[in-house]
Amino acid sequence: MKNLTQFNLNDLVSKKEYVLIIGAKSDVAMAVARKYAKEGFNLYLASRNSDTLEEFASDLKLRYECHAQCLELDILDYSSHQFFYDQLKEEVIGVISAVGYLGDQKISEKEFMEASKLIDTNFTGIVSLFNIIALDFEQRKSGFICGISSVAGDRGRKKNYIYGAAKAALSTYLSGLRNRLFSSGVHVITVKPGFIATKMTEGLDLPKRLTGTPEQVASDIYNAQKKLTNVVYTIWIWRWIMLIIRNIPEWQFKKMNI
């Protein structure tokens, strides 16, 4: 009896569809993984040094009776991306990238290496990978692509404009991709978080009312995918904050300290 139910269970699990998550060790990605596993998907979890992710993957398998496979991926190793995507045994119905690098603005002003790492991690690498996935989804005429950008890309500020510029480029890229893939039925989601309480922001004194949790971002992404939303600000209030910030005239903005 037990073996029979076990067998049925395996059968059920292998029928679940796969979602690919990039930058899987980030707190946001982990929350996204839990959300999708809970909603009934199997997962590919890609990150650098994926061995430390194994414990997390077995947590997912146990809690949600899904497959969760860890894979190696360096977003800066462009030439490996095609192979990475081709090796996935099962077709994925969507990809979500949480890859990002906050870096150090001050250093990036003096050392181009840092600026270049910021640009390549937040933008170039994602373009390299998403281009490959977009081609496949376009041919299959289905799928969704979700990139985590940032409100920092909505306007350049002296505090973090290299990071911001890379995120702005990512937002523009995603917007173009959305436009291109619309006719193929592929949906593209741009996520623009304000503040999220994660490892990236640990130690920073973030304003409580404006700071979301990784879980909120995860459910915003899931809902955006279900409802075909294009651009999500998370938490929602940032849409209005950024509307105001974008509309401050440049002659005024350049004098400001925000």
Partner: protein, 433 residues
């Protein structure tokens, strides 16, 4: 630095909060820091999880293994009980012991050795702990259970985070065949009837009473005793309920003697006389307050104290009479007053329950409150009772010591492992633990 407080919003402390989930990072962190305390989900009411440096364990929440023949779950200490229930209820398993909220961590459940409505039958949370892994000040990780490193196990269960950091534990679950509970409510007219009802229903697996602590004279001690057990109708699906939120702190004048009195009377009156029966889901039965986010804000910004004490059975009746009189005549009182008959004491050094009656009441912080509570402390201690550390933010050292005669054993263990140099809370310093 951030403003840190526990569920009672008192005291508030500007603390450095560090969030760590990986064991190797925890190890190097405790070596680096002078003095720390583990923080679970901050559902303790007082100052037991608070100090200048706090390590938040909640993200350490992986499920490690589940043996569904034994119902044995191996889980990391930061996991919330609600996460366990989401996993286990649809599979036909429930917590053997659960407190009145499911929003606490496994670490917090062990450290306070929490109890629930079935204490008189199942005992404290430690009864279902098959083993736990503890990180000591030396950086060593020891596995403790009722058969291995027994002394550390007895000290850690109920030890309020003062023996080290609980990393993970294996806990036994119990089989259920429904998520519904057949609940019986018995309305009693006074304290004597309440006690008789507790005795009469002491074989029921779950029991607890809501008591009207402002009722006086011949109505003193009137209660609604709720008893129940799981049914077996096979309905096991579990979708956590939608919550309402208390969006801001209520101005503190809203809760006053009059409004509480009106609430209590209304709450008591709306239940029919005698015995009523209905079927309720386990969330309604065990966790009524979890459906309201931030309910602690109704007590206002200054916060509140939950005062919970227990008296040995032989002294319970007179003691409660005396205490209820003092409360009713002070006019300070709350609508969340809970009375319960407990079962036998366990062998842990600082666990709260002893065989007898326990009363828990919420008081908003206001002038004259601490004087009243000091007076109640005296009655409690004189009758051989004690105060629950998980709720406490104010008790005096000698009151605490009189209530917990095994404190010296606990202190010696702390010294032996140098725990007293590393793990401290504001509470442990206040009480010289």
């Amino acid at each position: 630095m951030s403003n840190t407080k526990s569920w009672g919003n008192y005291p508030k402390v500007n603390a450095k909060t560090v969030i760590i989930s990986e064991t190797h990072r925890l190890k190097s962190f405790i070596k680096k820091e002078e003095e720390i305390i583990a923080y679970g989900n901050g559902r303790s009411y007082g100052d037991s999880a608070i100090n200048d440096t706090i390590v938040c364990i909640k993200p350490k929440n992986y499920f490690l293994n589940f043996d569904d023949d034994l119902g044995l779950l191996h889980i990391q200490a930061g996991a919330l009980l609600t996460e366990i229930l989401e996993f286990s209820v649809p599979r036909g398993w429930f917590l053997k012991v659960t407190p009145g909220t499911k929003l606490i961590t496994v670490g917090g459940a062990i450290a306070s050795d929490v109890h629930g409505k079935n204490h008189h039958i199942e005992g404290c949370f430690s009864e279902c702990v098959a083993m736990l892994n503890l990180l000591l000040p030396s950086g060593e990780i020891v596995s403790c259970s009722k058969t291995e490193n027994i002394e550390l196990f007895r000290a850690t269960c109920g030890g309020m985070g003062l023996t080290g950091i609980i990393l993970d534990a294996k806990i036994y679950l119990k089989k259920i065949e429904s998520r519904f509970i057949k609940q019986k409510t018995i309305k009693t007219k006074n304290l004597k009837e309440t006690f008789e009802a507790f005795e009469k229903y002491k074989n029921k697996p779950y029991s607890v009473a809501w008591i009207d602590c402002l009722a006086k004279n011949d109505k003193m001690g009137r209660s609604l005793l709720m008893v129940g057990d799981f049914t077996n109708d096979g309905r096991l699906d579990f979708i956590p309920k939608k919550k309402v939120n208390v969006p801001f702190f209520f101005p503190s004048f809203i809760l006053n003697t009059l409004s509480v009195k009106i609430f209590n009377t209304f709450y008591y009156m709306k239940v029919k006389d005698g015995i009523t029966e209905k079927l309720v889901d386990f969330e309604t039965f065990f966790y009524p307050l979890d459906s309201i986010n931030n309910w602690n804000r109704i007590y206002g910004r200054n916060g509140f104290i939950q005062y919970q004490f227990i008296l040995p059975k032989r002294n319970s009746y007179e003691g409660l009479e005396e205490i209820l009189k003092s409360i009713a005549s002070s006019g300070k009182g709350s609508f969340l007053s809970v009375l319960k008959l407990y079962g036998k004491e366990n062998g842990n050094f600082l666990s709260f329950p002893i065989e007898g009656y326990s009363l828990a009441l919420d008081f908003k912080i206001e002038k004259g409150l601490f004087e009243l509570l000091n007076k109640l402390d005296e009655i409690v201690v004189n009758r051989g009772g004690r105060i629950y550390l998980a709720k406490d933010a104010r008790v005096a050292k000698d009151t605490f010591e009189k209530g917990y005669p095994k404190i010296e054993i606990f202190r010696n263990i702390r010294k032996k492992y140098k725990m007293n140099e590393k793990f401290n809370s504001i509470q442990s310093k206040r009480l010289g633990i």
